[in-house]
Symmetry: D3
Subunit: 336 residues, 6 copies
Amino acid sequence: MKPAARSRLHLEIDLFRAGKSTGFIRVPHSVHRSAYGWLPIPVACINNGEGPRVLLMAGNHGDEWEGQVALGRLIRDLDPEQVRGRLIILPSANFPAAQAGTRTSPIDDGNLNRSFPGDPDGSVTQQIAYFLEHVLLPLCDYAFDFHSGGSSLMYVPGTLCRRDPDPAGMARLLGLMRAFGAPIGWIGSALQGQDRTLTAAARRQGVVCMGTELGGGGQVTPSVLALAEAGIRRVLAYVEAYTGPVPARADTRLLTLGGNDYYVYAPDGGVFEPLVELGDEVKRGQPAGRIHFHDTPWRAPTTASFARDGLVICKRVPGRTERGDCLFHLGTPYDG
Amino acid sequence: MKPAARSRLHLEIDLFRAGKSTGFIRVPHSVHRSAYGWLPIPVACINNGEGPRVLLMAGNHGDEWEGQVALGRLIRDLDPEQVRGRLIILPSANFPAAQAGTRTSPIDDGNLNRSFPGDPDGSVTQQIAYFLEHVLLPLCDYAFDFHSGGSSLMYVPGTLCRRDPDPAGMARLLGLMRAFGAPIGWIGSALQGQDRTLTAAARRQGVVCMGTELGGGGQVTPSVLALAEAGIRRVLAYVEAYTGPVPARADTRLLTLGGNDYYVYAPDGGVFEPLVELGDEVKRGQPAGRIHFHDTPWRAPTTASFARDGLVICKRVPGRTERGDCLFHLGTPYDG
Amino acid sequence: MKPAARSRLHLEIDLFRAGKSTGFIRVPHSVHRSAYGWLPIPVACINNGEGPRVLLMAGNHGDEWEGQVALGRLIRDLDPEQVRGRLIILPSANFPAAQAGTRTSPIDDGNLNRSFPGDPDGSVTQQIAYFLEHVLLPLCDYAFDFHSGGSSLMYVPGTLCRRDPDPAGMARLLGLMRAFGAPIGWIGSALQGQDRTLTAAARRQGVVCMGTELGGGGQVTPSVLALAEAGIRRVLAYVEAYTGPVPARADTRLLTLGGNDYYVYAPDGGVFEPLVELGDEVKRGQPAGRIHFHDTPWRAPTTASFARDGLVICKRVPGRTERGDCLFHLGTPYDG
Amino acid sequence: MKPAARSRLHLEIDLFRAGKSTGFIRVPHSVHRSAYGWLPIPVACINNGEGPRVLLMAGNHGDEWEGQVALGRLIRDLDPEQVRGRLIILPSANFPAAQAGTRTSPIDDGNLNRSFPGDPDGSVTQQIAYFLEHVLLPLCDYAFDFHSGGSSLMYVPGTLCRRDPDPAGMARLLGLMRAFGAPIGWIGSALQGQDRTLTAAARRQGVVCMGTELGGGGQVTPSVLALAEAGIRRVLAYVEAYTGPVPARADTRLLTLGGNDYYVYAPDGGVFEPLVELGDEVKRGQPAGRIHFHDTPWRAPTTASFARDGLVICKRVPGRTERGDCLFHLGTPYDG
Amino acid sequence: MKPAARSRLHLEIDLFRAGKSTGFIRVPHSVHRSAYGWLPIPVACINNGEGPRVLLMAGNHGDEWEGQVALGRLIRDLDPEQVRGRLIILPSANFPAAQAGTRTSPIDDGNLNRSFPGDPDGSVTQQIAYFLEHVLLPLCDYAFDFHSGGSSLMYVPGTLCRRDPDPAGMARLLGLMRAFGAPIGWIGSALQGQDRTLTAAARRQGVVCMGTELGGGGQVTPSVLALAEAGIRRVLAYVEAYTGPVPARADTRLLTLGGNDYYVYAPDGGVFEPLVELGDEVKRGQPAGRIHFHDTPWRAPTTASFARDGLVICKRVPGRTERGDCLFHLGTPYDG
Amino acid sequence: MKPAARSRLHLEIDLFRAGKSTGFIRVPHSVHRSAYGWLPIPVACINNGEGPRVLLMAGNHGDEWEGQVALGRLIRDLDPEQVRGRLIILPSANFPAAQAGTRTSPIDDGNLNRSFPGDPDGSVTQQIAYFLEHVLLPLCDYAFDFHSGGSSLMYVPGTLCRRDPDPAGMARLLGLMRAFGAPIGWIGSALQGQDRTLTAAARRQGVVCMGTELGGGGQVTPSVLALAEAGIRRVLAYVEAYTGPVPARADTRLLTLGGNDYYVYAPDGGVFEPLVELGDEVKRGQPAGRIHFHDTPWRAPTTASFARDGLVICKRVPGRTERGDCLFHLGTPYDG
């Protein structure tokens, strides 16, 4: 199947064929070691009659594993008979990054979630972004983008959406978040990356979009993976794309994510010692973490403090830190 | 002060001067950007009359932060009046690695804990090992080497010692371990790295040596750091090198660490999903983890299983894994 | 001589001066090691009265040597008295790549033949493409671009052209191909690289363009070099740009190159064992090559097969192969 | 304070607050080691009532230190009471390059002074250029950009301006140059980098702009630093932005900088031996330097000569040289 | 099974177990991405009663593929019932190099065949060499080391041995070479690499050793692979380690390899044009190849000539060449 | 000519042949891009009857150009009739470093002057050191090793020798230094690099050795080059190896070089501002330089001071500096 005129990527599978298809999206890649080669992004598609059209993707950042593992299992386990409509499943969207185990692509240093709307003649990551926004998204009603904290951050597992000014739209987003059933869900108006994310691309293409931040630290944990797998089935059932059994869900605490005062950044370079834990309620002015000077350990560390009250939903993982690295960010109760 | 004849390293501070001294061990480093430069390894020394001579070191691996932060605080906070004898404190022993935030040195790829007895004319890491074994250790009665799991592993916090065939020696080691007060302590006869570790160097130099494995994942956590700081004071008090207040300690569960059947290794490359958690009791044959093939997610993952019963004391952190990476290791009850 | 207004490249030689001129195209390159430097792309020009204006270039990919050596010899050996009109000879068009011996430029990873129409403010490779399309091509009637298989591919030596819907244009192209006298010649409508190649640039500028694929494997062989040198003189004589002696030519077998089913790609990563040779006639379904798993040699290799009947005109050279690398491509008889 | 709508950079300080403010320009940088980090470009601002609005910047190239050190001292030493209007001081404009000690940025190989007008969605260096041209310059009447020769070039210390066709504008520029008081000052119509420099950006934004070339060789010297510090105070006093004491100035010799014949480039690669010194008056045809072949020292060196008469104002520093590197450039008397 | 005391490598399989065993040699490798990992070198062993003990190895250089593919097939296809004695099969001896597709190891730049007798505490390549010489070779009567030309050289397929001063030993070596049945076989007294090769190690351990040079160019060809597979079975049958069917063999032309005058080296850097082909008989003084200056193609190339008469048995493949690269080497008739 | 038994290096030229010979020392180098290649170190030899045997070398560090250029000219210009005895001239002793323009070798990071006595089986730099100490030095009476400050340091041009406890030996060294005629000459007992330098190797081999430090900064200047060329001829005349004309010489000021208090090192990382110049007489406690914090320019710089009185003979060149870099070193009057 040939994608839209301008994209140079080639889909091995037919997105309109009934049943389950698996194969690769081929990204042309003409380099010294292979003049006429392509990079293989794995993709699966399940079609079963009428129903919603859903894109499920992970690996937007290559080192966010929970969604990649959960979507791989979905490809293997899902019975097409339990599907209604079409699922396009893209477990490792920035495959070169996932192959390397890094947030960004080793080929062009590209951060896929800062590359939309992409460029059909640009770098590999820009070509992938273009294909997602201009070939796959226009074929979909819903897009679910499964992120985690990756190598540098750890989250209280949660779902997230952009605030929708239309009440019906907002209600639909809240319904998706409650269906997924993560401990927290956040609604933001100024998310990181702004108009260059998959979320922004989905909005431009008129696609309903929900994201997640599931754990992180560059690892997989049994409990977060279990949440991811159950949440995916619940949200597919919620949009009536899946008719199989779904596990029971817990309540989701809804939060708002605001601007700069929700974040704590490293005031200096050194070794980061956190002074609070994920899930703590903190107060404005409370010490958040220390930066230790391991080149001159007799020098007193620098302390960073919270700029407002809130719930700690994200913290930095690696000890080694540079000035400007995000150490924490907060959420505050969602006001509806 | 000039160290032993053959080492080319230079100590800025006088190890025999009363009170607290801080400065650098200078490692000559003649390179393009600086023909006559040296690398600065921070070091502190506290002398106060008669008493045991103790080496406290961390940063043997550069990305094991808990001990580095705890020893830095010890340098800043310890009142020399509360010391008896001499403490030599080396928070970032392989400083080039700690500066880079990596296990091994970016200068020579050197793993310091696989470099003993070192070489005075070798690479930077080999020169550091030589200095530790031949200059610092001969000045000491005790050596405490504070490791953690680093970027790739996470441990149940613990202390560890090599089995001592002499009952009195063994009793002394067990006393140190109980004094430190970590949740677990292990005694091994075939530890990783064998005769090339600081532990082996200490044994060669007749120095009583205890190590730790404190958390890991390349991060610092408040609870493990608190354990490290309390444990250091307790063990210094136990050897009568410290007369200040000590926090109460918890019991330590003693374990034995055996050979290859205590370890689970990745049977293939891919993404690692653990099936058990740290602290779980497992049975021989029980599935330990899966390796997922994220390049072809429709392919079933490979499962690795435990080769014996035991307690899970260590697990791999990063999702991205290659064949041969250690996924878990076990401990079994210490038989005395 | 100053090139067209927007290009930042500077031509040392005067393209309108009678006789033979040699020098460099200067590509401004302001970097740490030289704030006001330029990169020197060697170029020659021969003018002798009225006649066609011809661009002869090689080194579009830096590791395709046959054309580079043949054009260097042409610069040294050609007597201006035997020329009619103007020859612009550019033996190493992507000179930084040729200097490094690689397909793409070490400066910007640029593949020149995927960079047209170029960008006067872009990377070095994009600036070269812009200069070729907007400065040199508008001065020419013919462009001959001498490619080979490069480091990763080996070809049955051949000429190639894009299919021209105009019968007169097509006849002229066939005449050029027959004049060159390679064993095969192919006509394609969907060549690799599409609208970003020198061929596409020439079409946009109204220049008649023929390419070659001469051997490959990153090497020079006496027989292919002899063909290149004779073919260049024959084709120059054919367009009446050269009046000297020409060696006799052999017949050229005309072929068509089609879409995806003409190509065989590696289904997995490993070591490539070809099962056919260049020049073989193969059948649909016939095994083409095996990919061996040298990390687990007891595992059976994967076999790739041809998707259609045809003549093997290109094969991959390096044993070490990744999924998606082109292993073979085919030609089928030209139907006129 | 939020900069202009499209730039993604964030200013920590308020440019309209009275007195001296210091902090960072935050460049969002989402990478593997820090998903939500930013790069910190140090900036200071001094406001004191009515007066001219002046941008003082250095570190446009990261290895040009004289201006960076002088502006750092200005930030520390200047009493806001002695200021009239507003000074924005940006000592290390391309901070990632300055941090690395290189001309260009290690993040994207970007040469900031070849990146204007920049791109708000481009690479880090392109984003900095965009912020400078579209956020900071529109707030200014004057821009002073303190360059030096950097690692590869050494200059007779001087000021430089683009020729202004308006006599009043030209007089103002000459006044600035005389006020700064460097040994030489040059007026050029075709400066290196053309429309992609800060100078060109300033002209586009209607800002009066003067640059410098202060020494070089990648180093700081006491005499050039003293000139820089005195010259900055003199030029600020000249535009009535500074009311404190100013050191006396020397006369400036005015020169013109012309086209290609003012430059000498390396005709080959090897080791560069200069045959003249900075400040020498040279004649057309005079030998300028030799390139020695240190791989075959028995081979005679190549000699490069001057293409016109003039004063040597710039020479290459490093011995190791490639074909195309600038060895010298000349100035000729300014004709008014 | 635990290898000899000092080697740190661990064999997963039991070399004394009847039948076919496959698994890995584990090379301990403690690095940032895996603190307790090992590198997996694949190995197989077939035991069947009494008989000779034979080591078959390839991948001594990682980019010599013919032997690696042939030995992998031997592991899969050989019926243990057809074996007599013990075969140890090591298809990719320097596995990190083979995995990367390079001659030398990407871990330590180690050339395994210049690393004997190895070092149990040295780099990864030195540890592999030590294990081969001190653990595996002492268990063997014969060692066959299947080399090819690799990425940089192409050979007339041949076998090679060191001259044995003992006539019985020499006869046995000639018998092995004739049994293998390659087009040529050479006997040398001063082979490349001298006392640091596997051949030298085998001699030190009293093991009869034959090598090969099978094609090259970093590729696999059907004809050379067929020779390798047949030759391996013939030579195993000759030493009575194999009782299955053997293909008929061709005659081998015996040659002597001498000192410096048998080799032609590049007199300069540039692009290599060979003037003779493999298998040509050449005369002293005959031009062998040209080095073209592609940076200044108007400059005449340099010609290298043969220093003696002989048969061309090896040539350089890559066009891009540096001074000192071997272009050709010769053989002369073996005098018995 | 074959060098001593154990060295693997091969000399192309015959050191005993009358007249001038030029060629290469071949260092075997078997790597991916060339399996049987060698690295070419240029060397020349002039023999003319009886007389002293002298080694003249430069390029011990690859970025010290003055001696390399001067010795290249000596090779080209010296008339063998003016020589007595034998001169071995090695302009670029660590040729891979000189080719790269770096202090140390890009192949193995080797600092040749920290590699003696070398290792015949070691890295490339260790093999060169072994060849110099064990093959060339035993053939010589005198060794002159022409260093400069290189890329990171600048010297008052001088000669240097190790203190010789034998008065006759010391007088001979002083005679050599006075004959060379540099502005200063120093005698040291604890020179940088100690027993691993060429000077130490010469002493071990009973060869009279004098070194130089000629300028630096990684550049060539006309005045220092003129001194080098004249000094070389004067010192050759002094040992009666040269009978041609010699330029007049100036007096040399003799200095002593002592231990740590003669050096000033950077107390922190940042940008180095020197406060004194080469040739200044300084006092203990006098400020020597400042380290500026260009990441936070509002922070006061750190000042480093001299630890004793003396003459400034060496200063650091590059602005960007790390803690531990040498900023200055001093000399004090030679006491005889």
